[in-house]
């Protein structure tokens, strides 16, 4: 008897300039919990979007066989009609509507356009009992915590007669109790014959719950591990996830490391909205002059949150801890003060946080350091052009002049404009958050060269990146961050991807 419920065959998905998936194969047996593991950007989410119809049939190559028939979904509704339901990392609930209304949103129990509220709430109550959520169907979803909202999502999936449930990082935002409850629920659903696919970075969880684990790396399916095999432990998964060789994609550099320039002591940050959720907990780090230091961490570990909270308290609340520059404590409570203290932060999302896309290179280059080219409130226009020209040339930004609109530049050139903008503020410390995200390989090499030049000029550089090879390739020392806590630091000479991944996946003691 064929027990395979889903077979995805040779799935290839191309975006302009990038091959996100390259001949991926995935086989899921009926009634199992199937985990998918891979680094950030390996292609896990893209694969699930192909499966759930977010990317319609025809926009990818390959075949999907679901319950013995080829699936040709042109949207999410089609795949849901077949019983495939995806629950995204960012929950898709309407906070002002009740639990029952959310469960049946788009699928209302109605007669002639009028909603039958008794039937709706009655059916919702049944579903809530099935997922073990002790709340009234009329409670607004916004009043529930994230864990309970996750259960509402699952109840919503059950209301659609789900056969294959896909969960993208379901426990990333949950505390330990809620995670445990969710995992037990998945076990219960397995007994009822519902197949689940779970994407997770929490390898401990996967070890506990999954029957099979498929590993995806660089858009390709590497292997499928049978988790019943005692060999298939966390280390085995990590090896599969990071198994690529380091090539000479990084420029040579001889580090010249000086005194400590930048120190952070006992830094804690709470989530801006969610009560009692600590995003960064007691972090300590230091960076020396001429040193390139990396921060490695999985998505949701608190990397960007740490950086942005240091830089002008731009993230979070109840921020505590000390920042020191050259040994002296400095106030970084506003962006202006942080800049004055000699800190620059290059955001991971240059379009949203880094650039004014409707303006030209000139205006963007000087946006953070206008005081340097102005006197008595007046901008020296000639000096401004001079400075923008200087960075255009030294950064090798490919445009004829600095009057080009930034929105029309390529990703790599935009990133160079952002770097130029922050260099113009003459910082002692540069925090680079995902400096090569969305940039092609050639431009990446140029960005690395610029980073090396900065270090050679005696600047302290802190690099946050999801790409471990990148950190190993350019950093002198790497800190690891997991669930908001610093879990270790390694000199690059001693660091390996496996070693880093182990440190990045250390959970709090209470979990195990």
């Amino acid at each position: 008897m064929d027990t395979t419920i889903l077979h995805m065959q040779d799935i290839t998905k191309t975006f302009p300039g990038v091959k996100a998936l390259d001949g991926v194969n995935l086989s899921v047996s009926k009634g199992e919990i199937h985990a998918i593991c891979g680094e950030n950007g390996a292609g896990k989410s893209t694969l699930m979007k192909v499966l759930s119809g977010v990317y319609p049939h025809g926009s990818y190559e390959g075949q999907i066989i679901f319950e013995g028939e080829e699936l040709k979904a042109s949207n999410i509704k089609d795949s849901e009609a077949q019983g495939i339901v995806i629950i995204h990392q960012e929950l898709a609930l309407v906070p002002y509507l009740s639990v029952a209304e959310n469960i049946f949103l788009g699928n209302e129990t109605a007669r002639g356009g009028f909603i039958d509220w008794n039937e709706t709430n009655h059916r919702a109550a049944d579903l809530l009992a099935r997922v073990g959520l002790d709340e009234l169907p009329v409670t607004p979803v916004g009043q529930l915590g994230v864990g309970k909202q996750q259960l509402v999502e699952i109840a919503k999936a059950l209301s659609k007669n789900v056969k294959l449930l896909i969960l993208d990082e379901p426990t990333a935002a949950l505390n330990d109790d809620d995670s445990e409850h969710l995992l037990n629920l998945l076990r219960g659903l397995r007994e009822q014959g519902i197949t689940s696919i779970i994407i997770s970075h929490k390898l401990g969880e996967i070890e506990d719950i999954a029957n099979t684990t498929t590993i995806i790396r660089d858009g390709q399916s590497i292997e499928a591990l049978d988790m019943a095999d005692p060999e298939s432990n966390q280390n085995r998964i990590i090896r599969g996830m990071v198994g690529r060789e380091l090539s000479s994609r990084y420029p040579e550099r001889v580090p010249q490391i000086g005194d400590v320039v930048f120190e952070v002591q006992d830094w804690s940050v709470q989530h801006p909205v969610q009560q009692d959720r600590t995003v960064v907990e007691g972090a300590n780090l230091e960076v020396r002059a001429g040193e390139i230091v990396g921060i490695a961490g999985l998505m949701g570990a608190g990397r960007t949150e740490l950086a942005m909270s240091i830089f002008g308290h731009s993230y979070g609340r109840n921020i505590t801890g000390t920042v020191k520059m050259d040994g002296k404590p400095v106030d970084t409570s506003t962006v202006g003060k942080a800049i004055k203290a000699g800190i620059a932060y290059v955001s991971e999302d240059r379009k949203k946080f880094g650039l004014n896309l409707i303006e030209d290179i000139r205006v963007n280059t000087t946006a953070a350091g206008l005081d340097k080219i102005s006197s008595k409130g007046f901008v020296d226009g000639n000096k401004e052009i001079q400075i923008a020209e200087h960075y255009r040339k030294s950064m090798r930004i490919k445009t004829p002049n600095v009057m080009a609109k930034v929105g029309n530049l390529s990703g790599g050139n935009q990133q160079k404009v952002v770097l130029g903008k922050w260099l113009h503020t003459a910082p002692e410390l540069l925090i680079l958050d995902e400096p090569t995200r969305g940039i092609d390989v050639g431009a990446k090499y140029e960005i690395y060269t610029i980073i090396n030049e900065l270090a050679a000029a005696g600047k302290a550089v802190l690099v946050i990146s999801s790409e471990l090879p990148e950190l190993l390739g350019i950093c002198d020392r790497i800190y690891t961050l997991a669930y908001g806590r610093m879990t270790g630091q390694l000199p690059s000479s001693e660091a390996t991807q496996e070693r880093l991944m182990e440190l990045m996946t250390i959970e709090k003691e209470s979990t195990r």
């Binding site: 731009s314 506003t334 932060y345 226009g381 000639n382 001079q386 002049n401 009057m403």
Partner: protein, 393 residues
């Protein structure tokens, strides 16, 4: 680049910025023909300035508000309130004209401070804050005036909007002073354009060809000289034109040359990026509204001076004229884009439309319909151009 390809660019690639100027010229030509030349007669030109100066003054403040991504619906009510305060002080209080003027402007700035506080520090959208202000200031106007109109102002106050500088330097059949101001204006324009061009060339930036540069400046120079000649042969230099010119120049410099101006554009262009670049967004927003209030005060004084009194219902719908001027002048509805020169030309388009139709004896209802359609078409044109530019890249 050759001058022909540059000329072509004006009507194709750069249509988004040059469109408003082309439209203005077309409207002026149209109404000159329809009114048999009456539109451009010396007396009518002077009239247009006297009659619509308040809209232009308000547009100067509104362009900052709109570029920063806000809106201000309260300026009409604030014009009424500041005019009323001024009138009470001068007419009832029997104090000198300048006390009334300064008090009106101060009240305007204070009301701007009030609105700026709610927008910048409490975080209420400007639409709501100024909608409340619209009601609030209108109500206060009725209170200040005790529900009745106040008039007339003593002579000097009326000079602010109705006075002329004539015969300062003499002249035979024309006012020499006005002509000299005109010549200075043309010389100033040419020198500043020349320096700008030289500065850009020095740093290796692309500049327009010398032929294009000269053609542009000579045409502008002739138009300006002709304009001043018309005024000089009428009643001389209107005082309000001097005020207006100084304000336009000042705000042009503020938006293009100062750190403050840069920050306003940065906030409107990308708020998150501005915050992360160290822009003190709250402070800038606060000053934008204080400035809008202050200019409403100036407009209130000018308007009450022109109408020679204060009415509780004054300034009705002025906010919409000012907002329309900005959008017709190419400001973006999502913020970050807009120029002082554009807003002024936008305001002049509205002024010429109204004045031209009045000269033709078109009814008030038709005038409103035409203005509404023009506003809609102007913004539609802008969106169309933006899309075309986006597709081209």
């Amino acid at each position: 680049m050759t001058i022909t390809s540059e000329l072509k660019d004006i009507f194709t690639k750069n249509l988004r910025t040059s469109g408003i100027y082309i439209a203005f010229v077309l409207i002026v030509v149209l109404f000159t023909i329809l009114t048999n030349g009456l539109l451009l007669s010396p007396i009518n030109i002077t009239n247009i300035i006297l009659q619509y100066s308040y809209v232009l003054i308000l547009a100067l403040g509104m362009i900052l508000v709109i570029v920063a991504g806000h809106i201000d619906l309260s300026v009409g009510s604030l014009v009424a309130l500041t005019g009323a305060v001024s009138a009470v002080i001068v007419i009832k209080g029997d104090l000198p004209w300048w006390v009334g003027m300064l008090a009106g402007i101060a009240v305007g700035a204070l009301c701007g401070l009030w609105q700026g506080f709610w927008v910048a520090y409490v975080g209420i959208p400007a639409f709501i804050v100024t909608l409340a202000g619209m009601l609030l200031f209108r109500g206060l106007t009725y209170e200040v005036l005790s529900n009745v109109s106040l008039s007339p102002f003593p002579g000097e106050y009326g000079q602010i909007a109705g006075g002329f500088l004539n015969g300062l330097l003499g002249g035979n059949g024309f006012d020499l002073f006005t002509v000299i101001i005109g010549v200075i204006a043309v010389a100033g324009l040419f020198v500043s354009q020349w320096r700008n061009r030289a500065g850009r060339a020095k740093y290796g930036q692309s500049v327009e060809s010398m032929a294009m540069f000269l053609a542009k400046n000579i045409i502008s120079g002739i138009i300006i000289l002709w304009f001043f000649w018309q005024i000089a042969t009428s009643r001389g230099m209107p005082i309000v034109l001097i005020i207006l010119a100084a304000l336009i120049l000042g705000y042009h410099v503020l938006t293009t040359k100062t750190v403050f101006g840069r920050h306003v554009y940065a906030i409107g262009g990308n708020l998150s990026a501005a915050k992360l670049s160290g822009v003190n967004v709250k402070k800038i927003n606060m000053w934008i509204f204080i400035n809008m209030g202050l200019l409403s005060g100036v407009a209130g004084v000018v308007f009450s001076s022109r109408s020679n009194g204060a009415q509780p219902g004054a300034g009705n719908m002025f906010e919409l004229d000012a907002i329309a001027a900005c959008f017709i002048g190419g400001a973006s509805t999502t913020g970050g884009v807009g120029r002082v020169t554009g807003a002024i030309v936008g305001g002049l388009v509205m002024a010429v439309l109204s004045n031209g139709m009045q000269l033709m004896g078109v009814g008030a209802s038709t005038q409103q319909i035409v203005k509404g359609v023009v506003l809609l078409l102007a913004v539609a044109f802008d969106i169309y151009n933006k899309r075309r530019a986006g597709a081209g890249n």
